[in-house]
Structure formats: structure tokens, C-alpha cells
Amino acid sequence: MLGYFSVYKSGDEKYSGGVLIINEKGMPVSFKYTSPIKPTKIQKIIYGNNLKSYIASEIIGKKISEIAKDAEVLLVQENETLDFLSTDKPVAQLVSSKALSESSSFNGKEGIITLGQNYSAKISFSYEVSQELFKKISDLAEIFDILEPFGRLNEALSFVCSSEDS
């Protein structure tokens, strides 16, 4: 199963992180998220520019890593998020790519996955992984749009931040 991880920052500076677990058919199995975090002024001053990375890695990242046990690999969108997660699972940045390729390619750490007929995605792992794992992901990319869940995840986190009863 694939775990989609994202940290969302709302307009009023609330932070929420979540993980959406997708099964082999592309169907969501679970969605877990952190309650919205609204840093105080003093916390903003103390953490300064490191606030987001602190929240993402120390607060959200650690907790999410614990609850994403079902996921074989954690996928993130932002490159900086790649460093936030300290987990024993492989973490990879997955973004859409302009590179058009007839077939998927992989060099141990980075690869291009063809999505449908005219789309492709670039995957960059935090460390070298097996060809087998890459093939599994690229096979899943044939079954469902592996980039699309990020949109749903961020939409859900946006709702969490804006919802009062979250």
C-alpha cells in the first residue's frame, strides 16, 4: 500500500499533517491526520524560519510515521518534506514530470514512471531502494493515477484546518 503524506499550512497559519493510505486498487483505506496546530506568537518567534520544518518533522512527521505502518512507502510532494520524516520506511518525492517516456526507468534512487498515455511522474527516493519496489509503484501507476491522491489529501487537510469541529 502507498502512503501519501503532506503537511498543509492554511491561510491563517494553522498546520495539519495527514497520511492517506491507498490500497493496490487505488482505493483509500484510511486517512489519519493531526489536529490543526496554531503556533502562538512566542512559538513563531522562537522557531522563526524553522517553524514549519519543526512542526512537520518533530510534531507531525513523528506521529504520522507511527500510524502509517500499513504503507510500504511514503510519498511526499515537496522535496523539503522528504527530510522531515524519520521513518524506517522508504520515503519518496513524487511529482509530475514533463519527461515523456515510453516506459518507466529507474537508477536505484530516481526514476520516471509513465502515467497513462501522455503523462509521467518523477520519483526520487531518500535513499537507494530495490528495483522491485520501483516496479511495484510503476505497476500501480497503471491501475490508478498515483499523483491524484495528493490533491485529495491536501483538500482534506484544508478542510480539517478550516473546520471548527475538527
Binding site: 487505488g26 482505493m27 491526520y33 489536529s35 512542526i55 510534531i59 506521529k63 490508478f144 491524484e148
Partner: protein, 243 residues
């Protein structure tokens, strides 16, 4: 005549009248009178030990020249009010003699500077809890050029014929747009299109998944989905039904 000294505490917009506690000045001392503003008692050297209370007023033939001045001291004194004890030097008295001696000023209690109450709050970081929400079954499918199982042209043509019959369209208007692997099949699955992408949404987790083919009607700008009969899958489901 009453001499008084007005201290204006600018910072807190407060006016007080205070008395001089001590003043080492030869011919001036203070009367200790309660409930009124302090006033001066002059000792006239020409008439030793003769004390004239200014408060009682002067007679016409009195030799002392007194210039009444309410603001005896320079305004610098005002700033002294932020301190418990202040020494004022070189003030000018109303008698036009310069005070070269020292005077101790004591602020009234209400002006005693009280430091802000300070408590130490340790910074305890940021905490959050994990929550879980139910998610709708939703998947987006991209078309692929080929499936892992081989599909014969004959099968594609059969599907087109079915679409022509069902939707009353011309074959020439239809175009094959791609295969969609493992599309969920259930009564409550709702299918929709966004370009070539196929959206499948359902309220419950579908148990059956089938390969499908997509077709596009350029005249009507419509898309059709036809499931591909897979002998292997059908055989499996047939065995399941028998058991």
C-alpha cells in the same frame, strides 16, 4: 501665604504634593503640619529666633521679601518620581536664592515603583493529537495503451457495436480512447469523466474490479466505458459462485 511644591508626574498623569523631609539650608525649615500641603517657615536672621509663619500672612512693615512661587523646583524633579529616593540639587527657591544644599525627596507610596510581577513560563513546545476520518471510496484512472492481458480487435469491435446500439450513434463518430485497468464494478459506483481520466466513486468498498475500454464520441462529445470480459476472472468468479 502657603508655599507648596507641585510635583507633576508626567508618565502616569498624576499630581501630588509632597513635603521636603530635610533641607540643609540655614534659614529655611519645614513646619510639620498634617493634612495640608507642607509649607515653609522662614527664620529671619535679622530677628533671631523670631519665627514668622508665612501661612499667617505678612504685615506691611515686615522686612522679609517673599516671592510666592508655586513651582519652586525645576521640572527635573518630576523625573525623580520614578525613584524611591532622589537627591535634588541646585533648585531655585522662590526667595531667589539658589539651593546649593541637598534635599532628599521621598515619593509617596503610590509612586513607589513596583516591579512587574514575573513568573517563569517554560516553553513547552507544540502538541497535537492524531485523528481519523472516514474517506469515500474514490479512484482516478488514467487510460493506458495496452493491458497485461491481450485484447483482440474483435473484442473492441464487439464493444463498439454495443455502444452503437445502446446510444444510437454512428460508428464513424466513435474513437477508442484507451484501456482502464481494474475499474471497480458495483451498483453504487458512480463513473464520471474529466477528459480522458475516469473517476470512480462509491459509498462502499467495491469487491469486483474489471478491465475496461473507453470510447469517445466526437460528435456528441460523450465518453463511454465498456467492461472487458476476462475469461480468467470469469472462471474464478464462476467457481466462487458454485461453491
Amino acid at each position: 501665604m502657603l508655599f507648596r511644591r507641585q510635583l507633576t508626574v508626567k508618565e502616569i498623569d498624576l499630581e501630588v504634593y509632597s513635603r521636603l523631609n530635610t533641607l540643609k539650608f540655614d534659614n529655611i525649615s519645614f513646619a510639620d503640619i498634617r493634612d495640608v500641603s507642607p509649607f515653609f517657615v522662614f527664620i529671619d536672621r535679622s530677628e533671631e529666633l523670631s519665627i514668622n509663619l508665612i501661612d499667617a500672612g505678612f504685615e506691611d512693615d515686615e522686612s522679609a521679601t517673599v516671592i510666592a512661587q508655586t513651582d519652586i523646583f525645576s521640572s527635573d524633579i518630576n523625573e525623580g518620581c520614578t525613584f524611591d529616593d532622589t537627591t535634588v540639587k541646585n533648585a531655585v527657591l522662590g526667595v531667589q536664592s539658589r539651593v546649593k544644599h541637598e534635599e532628599s525627596l521621598r515619593c509617596p507610596d503610590i509612586l513607589v515603583h513596583v516591579g512587574p510581577e514575573v513568573s517563569i513560563n517554560s516553553f513547552s513546545g507544540i502538541r497535537t493529537v492524531i485523528k481519523e476520518k472516514k474517506v469515500k471510496c474514490f479512484v482516478v484512472k488514467n487510460p493506458v495503451k495496452e493491458l497485461k492481458i491481450s485484447i483482440e480487435k474483435k473484442q473492441i469491435l464487439q464493444m463498439i457495436e454495443v455502444i452503437v446500439k445502446e446510444h444510437n450513434v454512428l460508428i464513424s463518430d466513435l474513437a477508442f480512447s484507451g484501456f482502464y485497468p481494474q475499474v471497480p464494478v458495483a451498483r453504487d459506483v458512480r463513473y464520471s469523466w474529466a477528459g480522458k481520466k475516469l473517476y470512480c466513486e462509491s459509498d462502499s468498498m467495491p469487491k469486483v474490479y474489471m478491465n475496461a475500454a473507453g470510447f469517445y464520441n466526437s460528435r456528441r462529445n460523450e465518453r463511454y466505458l465498456k467492461f472487458i470480459r476476462d475469461p480468467v476472472t470469469e472462471e474464478k468468479s464462476g467457481k466462487r459462485n458454485q461453491s
